[in-house]
Amino acid sequence: MTFTPGPEAEELRAVVRGFLEKRSGEAEVRRWMDTDAGHDPAVWGQAATELGLQGLAIDERWGGSGASAVELGVVFEEMGRVLYGGPFFGTVALAATTLSELGDTAAQDRYLPGIAAGDTLAALAWAGPDPMTSTLRAQPDGATGGWRVSGRAELVVDGGVAGLLLAVADTPDGLGVFAVETTDGLTRTTLTPLDLTRKLAALDFADAPATSIGTPGAITDRLRRALDIAVLMLACEQVGGAARVLDMAVEYANTRVQFGRKIGSFQAIKHRCADMLVEVESARSCAYYGVWMAAHQPEELPIAASLAGSVCSEAYTRCALENIQLHGGIGFTWEHPAHLYAKRARSSQLFLGSPVRHRTRLAELLDIPEVVG
């Protein structure tokens, strides 16, 4: 079995890397991280129209390229590498994937072309730790034939800028996904994220008018699948970030001189870098395996997603914190980029399921019993 991204994916990577290095370097990232929008609309538009990134995995009938999770994973890896601050995760990994997986063609016709074109910013909202147990509520609106969504989503990635909100909400028939496009009955509160390069908002829905996507009670498996794909995209981001901090650490260890020697010649530093390399390669294996399975062996997706979800996020955190330690004092300053990666790592470790939760899910999938009492 070969699950390393193939030559086409690597060609894509080269293009995306070139684009992001030019349009989302550290200076850009820092400039935009202090804004509420978090990103440069011009870059976002260019990503959509010139590179087709937003539509990469969207079917061609909706203006996308119909590529697989493997290629999309490469894009997230590259974005993770530079901490790209646009609402790509909310729009593409969460909203577009959910629309694609839920298979409601009316909704797809309505929303996917805008996402692919770069015109629509979107987000997935839920209340509580896990979308599958969201405590938002939706009820039919007899007057309009539509729905009304209520409740507070405490923490929505890209929720501050998204024009299209997909709310995961409970109904008398079970879990549903609802598109909220108006600002009626919607209050957004901007939050201060630990990771300033990923914007977060709290959303209060008060009988907000909404359209159901798919049939409430019948979308559970498809939503779970969409979330697993999002977990894998997060894992790819984490691999990109982890590899970048390893590069940064090695470069510093090869430059900084103390005690008359480059510090990388000290085993205390060298062995730490070696351990980081093992972490990065482990994470990379899990992420690549995951997106490959998403594309080619969907029945393996749950295990592959939770494997990547636990391994990649811990690897990234360990590498990002190690990178600060290795830089010494300078790594603790605001001016050095090391902390931006540490914050992204730490924050994304808690997003879409903590490592321990993913491991618990894996145990369940593998039928490894829990200890009772």
């Binding site: 630990l194 001189v257 103390q258 005690f259 330690q325 603790f332 605001w334 808690l350 997003f351």
Partner: protein
């Protein structure tokens, strides 16, 4: 191993000291005595640093008695200055007492103790972190003093300090450790510029200090010319003990926050069954470290802290990071937020908050294994100076400083 005679002596001294403090407090009741007045009187009574010489704020007793004295004054309701003048009280006083002239002790120790003069430490430089002895700030003799030029970094309290503990190079032609001298710098001198250094929490606890043609009189040189490295060791040993030795009651400090975070998480249904053992593993390790500190502090008959202080420093740093990492994990989604990244310059005048933002505390803890000597340096010290293992091959120790590669 402690000498039996010394231990008996220590028990007697403990009772003596306790009695002296009680008498002092009866004479100077904290509720009705101005803080600075009380501290001045305490200094004069030899109850400031009981292990210092009489006349220097001490009574010539054993160093192990000092924690008892501090506790007695705190219990009586006296203000806690340990954070507000942490460099002065924790490291400066012992350095000046050990290496200062009578004039220097007379001039500096009392205002340091009363809090009239806050001290900062001017050791680290951009090019001299772990390798402190590589520092490049120059001190060139001129008239009856020295002209200082260079840049220091990581100066906590630099923006409020009246005085600084400064190490500078007086002879670049000698090997790195032997060309340094130690100075007591008046921070109000012309040419001293303090700039805040923003850190990953958004705050600036530390500063960069630029020294441009700063004049220091020869009377403010501490110890002999070229003796700066040896003297700075006194400062650093005390620093490690001060860093590692915090927190004296079981469950205090960071681990207390972790227990609270865990309870909250259990209550909110966020905790995972594996979290309890993770918490307890940290709890037991923290408690073991606390007990080791007590054991070390109770060692009598040692005039200065030894390299074992690095055990406490190393453990404190690594544990603090692990504990706050757990705290953030226990927050669940809320761990993706922070209270704010607003720029500010704390002066450490308020006692440590009982309930810090654990996300901020987590970020701050990342410096614990760097500041005051990295964990890697601590392990070198433990390996070489406590266990007696050989040093690494060095190419920087015996050559003139100016010929050693630097970055």
């Amino acid at each position: 191993m402690n000498d039996p005679g010394q231990i008996d002596q220590a028990r007697t001294d403990q009772a003596t000291v306790q009695k002296l403090v009680e008498e002092f407090l009866a004479e100077h009741p904290p509720p009705t005595t101005d803080d600075r007045t009380l501290r001045a009187a305490r200094f004069d009574a030899g109850l400031a640093f009981v292990h210092f010489d009489p006349g220097c704020g001490g009574l010539g007793l054993d160093r192990s008695l000092q924690p008892l004295v501090e506790r007695l004054f705190l219990d009586a309701g006296c203000a806690d200055w340990s954070a507000r003048n942490v460099i002065g009280l924790g490291m400066g006083a012992a350095t000046i007492h050990t290496h200062g002239t009578d004039e220097q002790r007379a001039k500096y120790l009392k205002p340091l103790f009363t809090g009239e003069e806050i001290w900062c430490q001017l050791f680290s430089e951009p090019g001299a972190g772990s390798d402190l002895a590589a520092l490049a700030t120059r001190a060139v003799p001129e008239g009856d003093g020295y002209i200082i030029n260079g840049q220091k970094i990581w100066t906590s309290l630099g923006h409020v300090a009246r005085r600084g503990l400064l190490v500078a190079r007086t002879d670049p032609d000698r090997p790195k450790h032997r060309g340094l001298s130690y100075f007591l710098l008046d921070m109000t001198s012309p040419g001293v510029e303090v700039r805040p250094l923003r850190q990953i929490t958004g705050q600036a606890e530390f500063n960069e200090v630029y020294l441009t043609d700063v004049f220091v009189p020869a009377t403010d040189r501490l110890g002999a010319i070229g003796d700066g490295w040896r003297i700075s060791m006194t400062t650093l040993m005390n620093e490690r003990v001060a860093i590692g030795g915090r927190g004296n009651r079981r469950g205090d400090g960071a681990i207390g926050h972790a227990v609270a975070s865990y309870r909250d998480a259990v209550h909110a249904g966020r905790a995972h069954p594996a979290d309890r053992d993770r918490l307890m593993r940290l709890w037991t390790t923290v408690e073991a470290a606390r007990l080791t500190n007590i054991r070390a502090a109770a060692q009598v008959g040692r005039p200065t802290p030894g390299p074992e202080g690095s055990i406490a420093k190393l453990q404190y740093a690594e544990l603090n990071k692990a504990v706050y990492e757990l705290c953030v994990d226990l927050l669940g989604d809320a761990g993706m937020l922070i209270d704010n990244y607003t720029f500010s310059q704390p002066d450490l005048s308020s006692a440590a908050s009982d309930a810090p933002d654990v996300r901020r505390a987590f970020l701050r803890s990342l410096a614990n294994s760097i500041a005051g000597g990295t964990s890697e340096i601590m392990r070198n010290i433990l390996g070489e100076r406590v266990l007696g293992l050989p040093g690494e091959p060095r190419n920087d120790r015996d050559r003139p400083w100016k010929d050693v590669p630097r970055s």
